[in-house]
């Protein structure tokens, strides 16, 4: 039974281009009280843009209604559970928004003199210190603008480190359960990628790893807990194997929401890692971004961090550009500063104990879902789950229903789908990450929905195969969209031309 949602009327909405009519305006300006100037005369005709053909002309109320109507078509974290595994779609507390909108921070300009930016620089310094403490690392750069950007920065640091020793080395090892960005990152930085197969517990196989690590290996990129939501229990041994050959261990910190306040990558052998502030530290995510992907390193990698670095001089913060071994800049200015403010507000509001509790709640919520769903869906690996649980669609596939069909039916029940078909090592993966911000009531609604769908699969698989039934658009033609993409909207031919 669908309990969370009822059918609700939403308004149809054309594109602004389609509601345009000539001469409409969304603004009013007072009459000029100075003589009018011809821009072409003042600036040169070549600098003046002509009319843009078909540029939409609409009134203020039309614009407001347009975007408000569109927003009612949307699903976001403010409407309910958003269980996208590996994405940590947690609720973003409003107080972080209030702090980030503090006037002095909101209007701070990156070209403002250092003397007038001490508060902003203090925020950057405090966040770096907090993230270093949370990860057990020695130094942090806040510049990278997203997770994949952080990965690339991290692997560039590894390369710079090896180059400083005379040999950049050739390979990066990556488990087959890794995020797809990991191999892309290693390749972008000029390494070849060697895939490592997971064992039957969904973990890195230590023996086979030991047999392939040699002096050509620059490093290992590992996600911990990994993408099946399982903690790599052999991580200390794994790091030892790499370090013995002079290789580095990179940790993809996408799943750090399972570790904060409980264990620290710096204590289990990691040399360099990134964090996703927009996942673990509750800054806006997806379309609400931008993101931030700070990179934390052990002291031997610190000389290579991007410039500028913060330095304290006579109780004043200064930017230090004089770092001969740096990999250079990876981002204009100092990263996505507004996001950094939100993350520090989140960390300080929680404190150490609060962050640890948040992690424990995230683990509890994932395991609660796992226990209740295990009678209905096949758990992918028996190993204990951390902050997310991964099922496979094995049982439902026997009735012809796959993970993508179940996900689409979940939309009818009023939930955003879980992560579908990832990680690739699980056939028909259903990856569920509830995060700590969901109440038991919301989790129960979600579990009930999935149990109800499991029953529908048995009794009436067609219902699930044709879902969603309640949305404006049901299934789209993904194949034609990919094979013959239409990349640009074009206006319908005007009536007069059509008649020609």
């Amino acid at each position: 039974m669908i309990r969370k949602v009822s059918r609700h009327i939403t308004q149809n909405e054309p594109l602004l281009f389609e509601s345009s009519s000539p001469g409409k305006k969304g603004y009013q300006l007072p009459d000029l009280d100075v003589p009018a100037v011809d821009p072409a005369e003042a600036l040169g005709a070549e600098n003046v843009r002509g009319e843009i053909e078909d540029f939409p002309e609409v009134s203020e109320v039309e614009v407001v209604r347009h975007f408000t109507r569109l927003s009612t078509w949307n699903y976001g974290i403010d409407l309910g559970l958003f269980p996208l595994g590996s994405c940590t779609m947690k609720y973003n507390p409003r107080v972080n928004e209030a702090v980030a909108r503090t006037e002095g921070l909101l209007w701070a300009h990156p070209y403002q003199p250092e003397a007038l930016s001490q508060g902003a620089m203090e925020i950057i310094a405090r966040l770096e210190a907090a993230l270093a403490e949370i990860t057990g690392m020695d130094a942090v750069t806040l510049q990278p603008a997203a997770g994949a950007h952080g990965e690339m920065t991290g692997i560039m640091l590894i390369r710079a480190y090896h180059e400083s020793k005379g040999n950049p080395r050739k390979k990066i090892l990556i488990p087959d359960s890794a995020h797809g960005t990991n191999p892309a990152t290693a390749t972008m930085v000029g390494y070849t990628v060697q895939n490592i197969k997971s064992n039957d517990r969904g973990m890195v196989d230590v023996e086979s790893l030991a047999s392939i690590v040699d002096e050509d290996v620059a490093g290992l990129m590992v996600t911990n807990p990994n993408t099946v939501g399982v903690f790599e229990g052999d991580i200390v041994r794994i790091a030892g194997i790499l370090h013995e050959k002079g290789a580095q261990v990179y940790m993809d910190g996408a799943n750090m929401n399972a570790l904060v306040g409980i264990t620290r990558p710096g204590d289990f052998g990691i040399d360099v890692m990134h964090l996703n502030l927009h996942k673990t530290f509750s800054t806006p995510h997806g379309g609400g971004g931008p993101g931030a992907g700070p990179v934390a390193v052990k002291s031997h990698l610190e000389p290579f961090l991007p410039i500028p670095r913060l330095r304290s001089e006579n109780d004043q913060w200064r930017w230090d550009y004089d770092r001969p071994q740096t990999i250079g800049r990876v981002r204009a200015f100092y990263g996505n500063f507004g996001v950094l403010v939100r993350a520090l507000a989140y960390i300080m509001a929680h404190g150490g104990e609060g962050l640890r509790n948040a992690t424990l709640d995230a683990l509890l919520n994932a395991n609660y879902i796992r226990k209740l769903l295990e009678p209905y869906y096949q758990i992918a690996y028996q190993a204990p789950s951390m902050h997310e649980c991964v099922f496979s669609d094995d049982r439902q596939a026997k009735r012809g229903v796959r993970t993508g069909d179940i996900a689409k039916r979940l939309i009818d029940y009023g939930f955003h789908p879980y992560t579908v078909s990832f990680p690739l090592i699980v056939r028909g993966a259903m990856m569920i990450e509830p995060t700590e911000t969901e109440s038991k009531a919301e989790l129960d609604l979600f579990v009930d929905a999935l149990i109800s769908i499991a029953k529908e699969v048995e009794e009436n698989p067609e219902l699930v195969l044709k879902a969603p039934h309640s949305t404006r658009i049901s299934r789209v033609d993904e194949v034609t969209a990919a094979r013959k993409p239409i990349l640009r909207w074009k206006p319908a031919p005007k009536a007069s031309q059509a008649a020609d």
Partner: protein
């Protein structure tokens, strides 16, 4: 289902060896698992590939998957028709939708590959 004169990999490629020449493709099982294929990325003629290493990739609406070379050698010919008609990989994976032709540098590698019967029982269909 799986031609007797082809040899197969556990990564779901096939190779038809004739003398020192081989024709390479992906199996019926591979295209079925991938779903509708929308893009194929193949190497240039003259590229030297190594057994077990990626020689290209196929993209379906679900995922991008590497294609691994079943045997080592030099690429002699590429099936350029697939660029405009990737759906052929779903329609005729063992025939018209071959991917590349190769000159085998180590013909003895073929003995590492699966027979049609072994591959059939490996994929269980």
């Amino acid at each position: 289902m799986y031609p007797e004169n082809y040899r197969y990999t556990k990564e779901h490629e096939w190779v038809l060896v004739e003398g020192d020449r081989g024709t390479i493709g992906i199996t019926f099982h591979a295209q079925k698992e991938l779903g509708d294929i929308v893009y194929v990325d193949l190497p240039k003629v003259g590229t030297v590939v190594e057994q077990g290493k990626a020689l290209g990739s196929v993209e379906s609406v679900k995922a991008v998957s590497d294609i691994y070379a079943p045997v080592s050698g030099e690429i002699l010919e590429v099936n350029t028709a697939l660029a405009d008609a990737p759906e052929k990989l779903n329609e005729d994976p063992h025939g018209e939708a071959w991917l590349v032709k190769i000159r085998l540098s180590h013909p003895d590698e073929v003995k590492d590959l699966l027979s049609a019967a072994d591959y059939q029982s490996y994929v269980g269909s």
